[in-house]
């Protein structure tokens, strides 16, 4: 046993939690020492979230024991967890945009902690001690995502914290911000605070964590020291044997220009939204163009303009052309009939209707594929298509009459991407195609994108995952504050350069 009993901060013994239809946690053991940075690795649906919620008191386990600093405890709710010294930073922040940093923290800490004004000195002190620059008086809506995350971390650190749980904290950060976060976390650990770091980015886990517990299918698949394992070994632990995990794809150079975005500016009326400033971009047939950037820098706006949810007036329709045909004023269904397909960032509620079956969701975007005759839905063809998608893309579902919302995120994403790929589009626009998707499903999705590219389609991928973009894109650029960096062949750029673009360090190509 590497841990001596006295320095154990948290020990989980045989934690089991059953939900209707699934065993989310099956006799899970986990040990974290004082000052240890421990990784919890696993695919989507492996049981990471359930385990976190049990530690943080959001759900109760069906059986098993939680031992906190040598004492058996029953964590009834998050308030009790915080009283014990357990803090948690969720993937999705819970901050009020119209309030200041100090007001947000005061709200979270409760009445007894003091007024926002009284808290300000401590906020400054804590944020400086751990190298996180943060101004307590600033309004949250003016903060970058990285800064907002700091607010959440500082909020935890305002109390006497002995264990900090971070749920996929790096998914929203630029590479530089990730480095800064790691400095903070190492400083915290050096003071004896334990950290439970949940992630599926293997490189980061190796760079930061002392030890790792890998979950697969609700069970502990293995424990290891990440520094001594290769990516492939870790990935194998996470997904078992799956092909394509370490695939590298040959780069392509593309043919004729399919999509051309020419000097596209768009003013956003939403004060918290992003306006687009003179974007220029070309996507050729047979190539994948990747657009990096931290969320909220104009990705949603660009996507809406490309899909036709936002349309430009007729006079400006030449701003976006498909095969030299102006389309910026056309409705989405017309664009689809011209051969475009879209995978939006949000699966449920945008890409798929949660309360409709998979069959109906297949019809949703494929209506121009011969599924409708004389205004009537051809049920047989719709169901055949849905069956086809499920089979070819390995979507795990009881049948095609299952509601979309009962599928896991990765499975639904495979279904949506499959639905669009099956249309054999000439231009596919995909946003965050593998966000929150497990390693195995991500490999499938990447393979299909490459196959579609090799069949001659033009593909535009907007993603926050740089590893993904470097793996599959032939050319790369980044969005920052509604401006687009120059696009460069992936082979001729580096992670550092793209990181600088993401922070806005590039000449506006339109000005040059």
């Amino acid at each position: 046993m590497p841990h001596s009993a006295s320095s154990l901060r948290l020990e989980l013994r045989a934690i089991t939690k059953r939900y209707p239809g699934t065993l989310a946690n099956d006799r899970i053991d986990l040990r974290i020492s004082a000052g240890e940075i421990h990784a919890l690795l696993g695919e989507n649906g492996a049981g990471k979230s359930t385990l976190m919620k049990i530690i943080y008191g959001v759900t109760a386990p069906d059986s098993g024991e939680v031992v906190w600093q040598g004492q058996r405890v029953q964590v009834r709710d998050p308030a009790q967890a915080r009283a014990l010294g357990i803090g948690m930073v969720f993937q999705h922040f819970s901050l009020f945009e119209t309030l200041t940093v100090a007001e947000n923290i005061a709200l979270a800490l409760g009445r007894d902690a003091g007024t926002p004004k009284q808290l300000e000195p401590k906020i400054r002190e804590v944020s400086q001690r751990y190298g996180m620059g943060l101004e307590p008086e600033r309004l949250v809506h003016s903060l970058s995502i990285g800064e907002r995350q700091r607010v959440e971390i500082v909020r935890c650190l305002m109390q006497d914290i002995r264990l900090l749980i971070l749920d996929e904290p790096t998914s929203v950060l630029t590479p530089q911000e990730v480095d800064e976060l790691f400095v903070t976390l190492r400083a915290l650990a050096a003071e004896g605070c334990s950290i439970l770091f949940i992630s599926h980015k293997l490189g980061e886990v190796r760079a930061l964590c002392d030890s790792a517990t890998v979950l697969r299918g609700g069970r502990v698949a293995g424990a290891c020291v990440p520094r001594e394992c290769s990516d492939l070994q870790l990935a194998r632990l996470m997904v078992g044997d799956a092909e394509g995990l370490e695939a590298s794809y040959p780069k392509a150079s593309g043919g004729l220009t399919r999509l051309r975005v020419d000097d596209l500016s768009w003013h956003n009326l939403d004060p918290f939204g992003t306006s687009l400033d003179r974007l220029r971009l070309e996507v050729r047939s047979g190539e994948i163009v990747g657009i990096a950037g931290v969320a909220g820098n104009g990705q949603d706006e660009l996507l809406a303009l490309l899909s036709g949810e936002t349309r430009l007036p007729r006079g400006e329709r030449e701003r976006i052309t498909l095969d030299q045909q102006p389309i910026a004023n056309l409705h989405p269904d017309v664009r689809r009939r011209l051969g475009m397909a879209f995978v939006p960032a949000e699966r449920l509620g945008h890409g798929a209707v949660p309360d409709m079956s998979l069959a109906d969701n297949a019809l949703l975007s494929s209506f121009h594929q011969g599924l409708v005759g004389h205004g009537m839905v051809r049920r047989g063809r719709v169901e055949a298509l849905a069956e086809n998608i499920v089979r070819r893309f390995g979507v795990k579902t009881p049948d095609i009459h299952t509601l979309a919302r009962s599928l896991s995120g990765g499975n639904l994403q495979k279904f949506i991407l499959g639905r669009e790929v099956m249309q054999q589009p000439t231009l596919l626009v995909a946003a965050h195609p593998t966000w929150g998707v497990d390693v195995g499903a991500a490999a499938t999705i990447h393979r299909e994108l490459i196959a579609l590219r090799d069949a001659g389609a033009a593909i535009l991928v907007i993603s926050e995952d740089l590893d993904e973009l470097f793996q599959i894109s032939d050319r790369l650029g980044a969005l920052c504050s509604g401006r687009l960096s120059p696009l460069k062949a992936t082979a001729h750029t580096t992670l550092t350069e793209v990181g600088r673009w993401m922070a806005g360090e590039f000449d506006n190509p339109a000005a040059a």
Binding site: E309, D333, R336, D355
Partner: protein, 367 residues
């Protein structure tokens, strides 16, 4: 908490069917308590209320006559509600349909042609659709909430009807009664049997039910309507035109409500009177939801609602119970249905008093 609600992973199909039955049972139970409290024998009262009215063929025919306008309105509302367009204005659309149809009919008193009836009916349908179109225009151009506009249009419609029936359309030979002249036979819906009043509006209902079913369950247009109702962002991404669908849904529901109105004046009534509708358009809202926005379910619910109307009248005459009884039953029915519908998406569990058996040891410190 003793009882907790736990979300189900999937809709429970069993409860989708059971919920209306359970709601009906609870309504009967509460009704029985109510009658007992009023000093009536519950069983005898139920007999008067629910069985007596349909004991003979005449009664069944009266039931169908009552159900026709309710069903026509409810079928139209189902289209709008599937798109989550909350048209509360079936009552007003019905009244305008009746008014416009009557206005034409009393100008055709001497025209003995087979075209007279279709012309009158078509006028009623178009007028109802036009009345709903006002709400569609207000919503698509000014983003005005259709719940408010359709309710307000109901009052305007009622007062328009009253004005015309007291003024321009009043029968000059009618001894100043507020009613129009009787329509010519060429403008009347024919009756289907000799000695009962059931009229051809019955066929219109069947036609409408099939048409609405085909639209909602089989056509791509109906699919778009459902997508708009369930997830308007997905509809936007796919290019389903929200404004067009709003127009379509409101025109269909307005047209069918107008048809209900004109089939009342050309059918059982035969002239325009102020009391064309005892609230059919409002009852249809309950019927649409009781029937789960599904044509077959709506027919069942509409017959039940018509029975409550007839039974209420019967109870008023023979037992001297107030007429508001009908409304009370309608209200209870909707109330219990909504409550029981919770079971479709949630399951009820005995709360944490009984559960901690699995973790009773966890509080103790380790030995």
């Amino acid at each position: 908490m003793l009882l907790t609600l736990e979300p189900r992973l999937q809709q429970s199909r069993r409860h989708l069917l059971l919920s209306p039955l359970l709601a009906a049972l609870l309504t009967l139970l509460c009704g029985a308590l109510l009658f007992a409290a009023l000093g009536h024998d519950p069983l005898a009262t139920f007999h008067t209320l629910l069985i007596e009215p349909v004991q003979d063929f005449y009664g069944v025919s009266e039931l169908l006559i009552k159900a026709i306008p309710i069903l026509l309105c409810a079928l139209g509302l189902a289209v709008a509600y599937q798109a989550r367009i909350w048209n509360i204005g079936a009552e007003g659309q019905l009244l305008i349909g009746a008014l416009a149809g009557s206005a034409l009919a009393i100008n055709l008193l001497d025209w003995d042609s087979v075209l007279a009836l279709p012309a009158v009916i078509l006028t009623g349908v178009l007028a109802g659709a036009l009345w709903a179109a006002l709400a569609a225009w207000l919503r698509t151009h000014f983003n005005a909430n259709e719940i408010l506009t359709t309710i307000m249009l109901n009052y305007i419609a009622l007062n328009l009807l009253l004005y015309f029936v007291h003024g321009p359309l009043k029968d000059p030979e009618g001894f100043s009664f507020p009613q129009s002249a009787m329509f010519a036979d060429a403008s009347r819906l024919p009756t289907l049997f000799d000695d009962v009043r059931l009229h051809a509006g019955f066929y219109l209902v069947l036609l409408a039910a099939v048409a609405v079913w085909v639209l909602l369950s089989r056509s791509f247009l109906g699919f778009q309507v459902r997508v708009l109702g369930l997830d308007s962002r997905a509809a936007g991404l796919m290019g389903f035109r929200e404004k067009r669908l709003v127009w379509l849904a409101l025109l269909i529901s307005g047209g069918l409500a107008g048809l209900a109105g004109v089939s009342e004046v050309t059918g059982p009534i035969g002239q325009l009177v102020p009391q064309v509708s005892p609230g059919y358009g409002y009852a249809a809202i309950t019927v649409a939801f009781l029937g789960r926005l599904n044509p077959l379910g709506i027919i069942v619910a509409g017959l039940l609602m018509a029975l409550l109307y007839l039974g209420g009248e019967n109870a008023q005459m023979t037992l001297n119970l107030p007429q508001s009884l009908t409304e009370l039953f309608q209200g209870m029915m909707l109330f219990f249905l909504l409550a029981c519908d919770l079971l479709i998406l949630y399951r009820v569990r005995l709360g944490s008093w009984f559960r901690p058996a699995t973790r009773k040891h966890t509080e103790h410190a380790p030995a």
